[in-house]
Every structure is written in structure tokens, then in C-alpha cells.
Symmetry: none
Subunit: 281 residues, 2 copies
């Protein structure tokens, strides 16, 4: 349910960016742009696309070339996610490390709820291999489209269409729900709705202001990993599993800026204990 | 709600045929086949396709070539719809003649409900001009995907993907509803129930086992606060605000036992830096 009725639907949708990571075929990028535009989405970000936005991309965009023209191209995922308060990664398969997962309906709801407060992102991986575990560690949630177990080969633009469709459908549904609530029809289900929202991976309560952005989290993780090395706990460069685990843990907590400052203060204090040794030499 | 529990999901989906009318591009037919197969649909019927099923169609089918191979080609729409008890036509725009219209969710529900009894069809028109009024007259209902009013140019395979996705999602949703009904916990009216269940994302707890217990968290907080004192960050006994903030942060993350062990390892490493000082004295 939208908490902020003052943020209109168009603004919400404009704050949902689709981030494509190392897409192989420019045709797919064009098709994603078209899928997005049909549903009123505008923000496309490309991380290291493997082909330039050529004639094939334009052909498949079919009138959504304005989205291609304004699409930002980035060298790193961190750069693409800069400023985002919520990042959801699309995954074709269930992951061994159990990440919190939502279906496309839940994905749309979480993105739109958080878009009332700021920028959010949906991450779509490579056509063949999806997202790496390292890329997933940027995500607060995963989302997966339920497919035929015998044939799960969803085209990236088809997946983008489903996610974009659910974003628009949810937006329209909230409009309708608002109308129903005004007429008192939804009152009976209020308790159930509350229960359902409590069970959501990111509850409605979790819509907090002043959350740390994706780039602030990247900077925090750098500090964390450096400190772990300094205090002799581990060399995170040599343990990508440890690094991912810690990122996933703190991503789940979704620290706000004050909390991040406290954590960084703790890291500095922990590392600072090294100084007396150094001065003594 | 399924009327006939004795008809299984696979059989239902196999009774939903997608009928493409005078499709211009074979590539689109291939892409529709792929979209269908990802969602467990198998029956594709082509009315006067404008291109043969060539290499382009096969390339876009990407492994759904079995659907193309078994696709029936017909000269007339009547032939393509033979044996169907329900026909729903997809329309890109609202029609002047007020046809009964359902959204894609309603479309999936109607098709699957009737598929318990026999064959049903979804009709997808030409890429540019859709279905003629004469063709629409074969339909019991129209369905329309709500699009951006400024850009409603949904690719035919993208539309097929949305309809196929809703068919599979509704199938899975009915399975879940059956379970909920058996437990007697759903009391809201049918329509509201459907909406509410749509809104319930998968619970994070459902996919994470081995969460730390409350007493393990208490023990961790003791360790954390002791360490903060040791590394000279703060005396948490004197700052209940800090203590509360940190507890709230880690409570939100809901660590499992492995994560808690990692965190405690880090605390020990941070505090351990004190030992050399102590030994030196």
C-alpha cells in the first residue's frame, strides 16, 4: 500500500531504473527499452554492454529510441546503482545462498513503495549467465519469475516486460485500492493485510527515510574489508564467500546514514588499536 | 477458483491454445513460441502467417522449436478455433463497441476455469493492426494489457509473454489458494482474497533456516558491547541510545547462526588487538 499519497504514479515509475549488466545483444537492449516504455518506465542504465546501440537496437526499440538515447552507460555496477536505496536482482534460478526472494508482484510492490522515498533499481543480468554472486551482493532482494521447470529460458526483454507490466499493474491496482478504501470496502481485510505485510521481506515499516545509498554502502564495505584485514580477522580479497556473506547481512539490515556512521566509527576504533603498536616501534 | 480439482495443472495449460492471426514476421512467431514454452504452454496455432517458419523463427524460438514443429497452420480463424469452448481476443485499444473486457489476470482466470472442461483460445492479432471486427466477433471476451497511454506499442511476443505469465502465475496461485482454504484461514471475499494473496511476497523466513534465536542474539549483544568498550569506541552502559540503535540494526538483519559466528569472530579479532598491549605491560 502506498504510504506517500503525495508522490504521484508517474514520479514513482520514473524512479525505478532498470540496470542491464553486460548484455550481449544490442537487439535485446532495444527490446527492453520498448518493454519499459510501454509500461511508462523511462530510466535505463547499461553496465558494460557488449555491443554498441546500433541499428538493430533501434529497430527493436521501435519508437522507444528516446529511452536508448538517454540511457546511461557505466563501467561498474556500483556506478550504475549510485543513489539507489533499494536494489532487487533478477535471478533465473534459486540460489544456494538463500537470499530473500520475492515474486514479480512482490518485486513491483517493494520497488514502488520505496520509490516514494527515492531511487530504486531492478538488476537484469547477462542473457546466458545472469548475475554473478558478486553482483548479487549489491542486492537487497532477489526476484524470480516462475517458469516451466523443463524450459526456463526466458528472454531478457520478455523478463523485463513481465517486471515492467507488474510495475504498471501494481500502480493501477493501488489507484483502485485507494478508491475501494475510500468507499470502505477494504476494511474487512485490514487485519489480514497487516499480517501479510509483516511477513514481507522488507516490511512496510522498513520504508525509512535517509537510508544509505548504494554508493555509500560500497564505500562502507570497502572500509569494513580493509578493517578486517587490519585486525587480522581475514583477508577478504581471499575469501569472496565471507565478503558476500557480510554484504548480504548488512544489505538486509538496510542501515540509514546515522547507523552507517556508527558502524564506520566502530571500524575506525577497531583499526585504531593498531596505531599504538606502530608508534611503539 | 478452480471448479474441478480433478483436472491437473498441466492438462489445463495444455488446453489453452494461442492463436496468431496473420503475423507478419516469422521472428515474432518464434518469440511467441519461446514465451509460451517458458510458462508451460504447448499449443500454438497460426492463421495465414505472412512468412514461413524460417531460420529467423527458429533462432528466436531458442529451444522452443518443438512448439513450432507441432504448430498447426490454418486458412481460416474458424478452423483455428475449432473445438474451443471459450475464445478471448487480445486488443491493444478499447473498442467502440463495448465488448466485455477482462484484464490479463481475469483473462488467465477465465481461460483456466474453462480449460477444466475443454479447449480454450487466446487470439493475438496482427502486429500493426490487431484483430478486425469480424475476427473479434468470434470472441466471448476481450482482454487488454494496460499500457502507457503515450506509447502502447507492445510487441506481440511481449504481449504473449504477459498473458502466458499470468496463466502460469494463476495456476500456481490456485495451488496456493487450495492450501490456504484447507487451513480455513481465508475469510475475505473471493476477489479480495485474490488481491491480498497477490500482494503477499514470499516471506524471507520461508527461505532462511537456522536463524539465530533470541537468546543467541542477547549473547551476541553482550559480546558486541563488551568489545566496543575494549576497543575504546564507547561505553555502551553509558549510552543506551547507542545500544538500542545497534540492536535494532542487527535485529533487522536477522542473522542466521553462521553469520552470528562470523560477527563474533570479528569482535574477537578486534578485541584481540588489545592483548599485545596487555602482554607488554
Amino acid at each position: 500500500m502506498p504510504e506517500r499519497a503525495d508522490v504521484n504514479d508517474e514520479l514513482r515509475l520514473s524512479r525505478v531504473r532498470f540496470v542491464l549488466v553486460e548484455t550481449s545483444l544490442s537487439a535485446n537492449i532495444g527490446a527492453v527499452a520498448r518493454a519499459m516504455k510501454t509500461m511508462g518506465l523511462t530510466e535505463l542504465v547499461l553496465v558494460r554492454p557488449q555491443q554498441p546501440l546500433d541499428a538493430e537496437a533501434l529497430a527493436r526499440a521501435a519508437g522507444a529510441d528516446d529511452l536508448l538515447a538517454r540511457a546511461r552507460t557505466c563501467d561498474s555496477l556500483a556506478e550504475a546503482l549510485s543513489g539507489c536505496r533499494l536494489v532487487i536482482g533478477s535471478s533465473a534460478r534459486a540460489r544456494s545462498l538463500a537470499w530473500p526472494e520475492v515474486d514479480p508482484v512482490g518485486c513491483a510492490e517493494q520497488l514502488l513503495r520505496e520509490a516514494a522515498e527515492g531511487e530504486v533499481a531492478l538488476l537484469l543480468g547477462r542473457e546466458r549467465s545472469g548475475l554473478t554472486n558478486d553482483e548479487l551482493s549489491h542486492c537487497h532482494l532477489l526476484t524470480r519469475i516462475a517458469t516451466n521447470p523443463d524450459y526456463s529460458s526466458l528472454n531478457i526483454a520478455a523478463a523485463a516486460q513481465v517486471f515492467a507490466y507488474e510495475l504498471r499493474r501494481t500502480t493501477l491496482h493501488w489507484q483502485a485500492t485507494g478508491a475501494l478504501q475510500a468507499s470502505g470496502c477494504m476494511l474487512a481485510s485490514g487485519a489480514q493485510r497487516a499480517r501479510l505485510e509483516e511477513e514481507a521481506p522488507l516490511s512496510a515499516e522498513a520504508v525509512r527515510s535517509d537510508l544509505a545509498t548504494a554508493d555509500e554502502m560500497v564505500s562502507f564495505y570497502g572500509h569494513l574489508e580493509q578493517t578486517l584485514e587490519q585486525i587480522g580477522f581475514a583477508d577478504p580479497a581471499q575469501s569472496s564467500t565471507l565478503r558476500r556473506r557480510l554484504r548480504r547481512l548488512f544489505n538486509r539490515a538496510r542501515p540509514d546514514r546515522t547507523e552507517l556512521n556508527i558502524l564506520r566509527g566502530i571500524l575506525s576504533a577497531a583499526a585504531g588499536r593498531k596505531r599504538p603498536d606502530r608508534f611503539r616501534r
